[in-house]
């Protein structure tokens, strides 16, 4: 999550004082925010060397791992909240990681680009894959190897036995609760297992 307001909106889903695990934590922005504004503690998981260094420089507990290998390091329900922001779409084993998120955390929070946002739909109706602020890559070199929609996630969550506790879209730094599948470029879900 590069956008500050997106980050703050998502941080509000994390109860104060939580022990958190941030999967794909990037440079540690969210963990720093949660530490400073919500009294949270925990760890970030990151694969990129530069981001691991950035986290360490900011005093964020960071563990360098490839998420595709799963979360064997972490016991069931060992964190209050497991976050997976803007990461899901980069993973080959999307569903496995979603299950792992729900296994390790009492609460899971995910965000990802909503492919069904209306400008994307227009692109596709026009016969082209979308290239937008949230999906800035050409189809042939995108790291977004899983492109899903807000509505698709609701179906996957049901399939995997997840209970959605809260869900909304984000558009231009604001929460979108009416027709998020159409009106929001980012989808956010807060869920628990069972």
């Amino acid at each position: 999550m590069s956008d500050r307001k997106d980050l703050e909106l998502i941080a509000e889903l994390v109860p104060k004082g939580s022990r958190v695990l941030d999967l794909g934590c990037g440079n540690g922005d969210l963990l720093v925010h949660l530490r400073e504004h919500r009294g949270c503690s925990g760890y970030g998981i990151e694969i990129a060397d530069a981001d691991v260094l950035a986290c360490e420089q900011r005093g964020v507990n960071v563990i360098q791992l490839n998420l595709e290998e799963g979360l064997a390091l972490f016991d069931d329900r060992s964190f209050d909240v497991v976050l997976q922001l803007d990461t899901l779409q980069h993973l080959k084993n999307t569903e496995k990681m979603l299950r792992e998120t729900a296994r390790v955390g009492r609460i899971g929070v995910v965000s990802f680009p909503n492919f069904a946002h209306w400008p994307n739909r227009l692109h596709v109706i026009g016969g082209r894959m979308p290239v937008t602020r949230v999906l800035p890559y050409q189809w042939y070199d995108t790291p977004n190897i899983r492109v899903g929609t807000y509505a698709d996630f609701e179906i996957l969550a049901k399939k995997d036995g997840l209970t959605i506790l809260d869900a909304f879209g984000i558009q231009a730094g604001k929460a979108v609760r009416a027709w998020p599948n159409l009106l929001a470029s980012v989808a956010v879900f807060k869920f628990e297992r069972g």
Binding site: Y43, V52, E56, N61, I63
Partner: protein, 366 residues
Amino acid sequence: MHFAAPLPLASGASLRDYTLAYETYGTLNAAKSNAVLVCHALNASHHVAGTYAGKEKSEGWWDNLVGPGKPLDTDRFFVIGVNNPGSCFGSTGPTSPNPDRPESSYGSDFPVVTVEDWVDAQARLVDALGITTLAAVLGGSLGGMQALDWSLRYAERLRLCVAVATAPNLSAQNIAFNEVARRAIVTDPEFHDGHYADHGTIPRRGLRVARMIGHITYLSDDAMEAKFGRDMQKAAFDYSTQEIEFQIEAYLRHQGDKFSEYFDANTYLLITRALDYFDPAHGHGGDLTATFAKARCRYQLVSFSTDWRFAPARSREIVKALVDNRLDVSYAEIDAPHGHDAFLFDDPRYHGFLRAGFDNLMKELT
């Protein structure tokens, strides 16, 4: 530094009247809070950084990491390097005079020492320097095991434990390599049950083979392939089973020769045994999480992707135990080609990561 009080050892024996060779770099601050202890691995010493006056090629073994302006910055930290008892670089060891037989050296009568014994000895040195709490204890490989042991048995006496390319214990394969090295030494006819000094000999052949096998395990397959491949020693083969045909053979023989000139055979046996014995979870039924329940400090761990002797998976076991205990830990898994030896190289990702950790530590202290 001389210690008159006997050091009780894990074996039940004790080391009486011993000396520890040590060096320090930088200045201890008034609060005595900026001290960092550096623990050495198999064949290193207290000479961690810098060069000796008039000796150009005398860089410390971790000189690329430790020094003024370096990741462990001696302009800000007071760094202590200490040679462990049983070693052969100045501290009391098998080559020191045996108090029971003053005319000869200890040889193989030197008591077996463990990582825990070393850490106890280091703690006495730290006491003698008037330091209660170390800012950090740092080590790679066997040195990393010492750093981990500090964090377990002297949990309140350090803020940060930096353990690089290490493991919570040795695997069967690791012990096996050590055993081959030891057998090479003790079956050398010049070994004389470890009292070779009394016979005026040195088991050089055994030491050479021990070093050769060790050296193979410190390098990755890829690194060796890149450096030597099947490069030949001469333009054509000699069709000899004895002559050097491939450059890798020349390299290993050279390493073995060099090593056998400066390293003591009994020390090699003792240090490989200390490696074998280290297993802090042993007293907790193998449960590493329970083992680290008493730890209090922050941790910084590093492993290297091609290190098959102390593989990343072994560091992850430690990370898991720390996470289970909700301890602060950062862990970098550096994709480096050099195998176990990578911990002695100055990869910018690795050194940048350690530098960031020491910078944070300095902020905490000031």
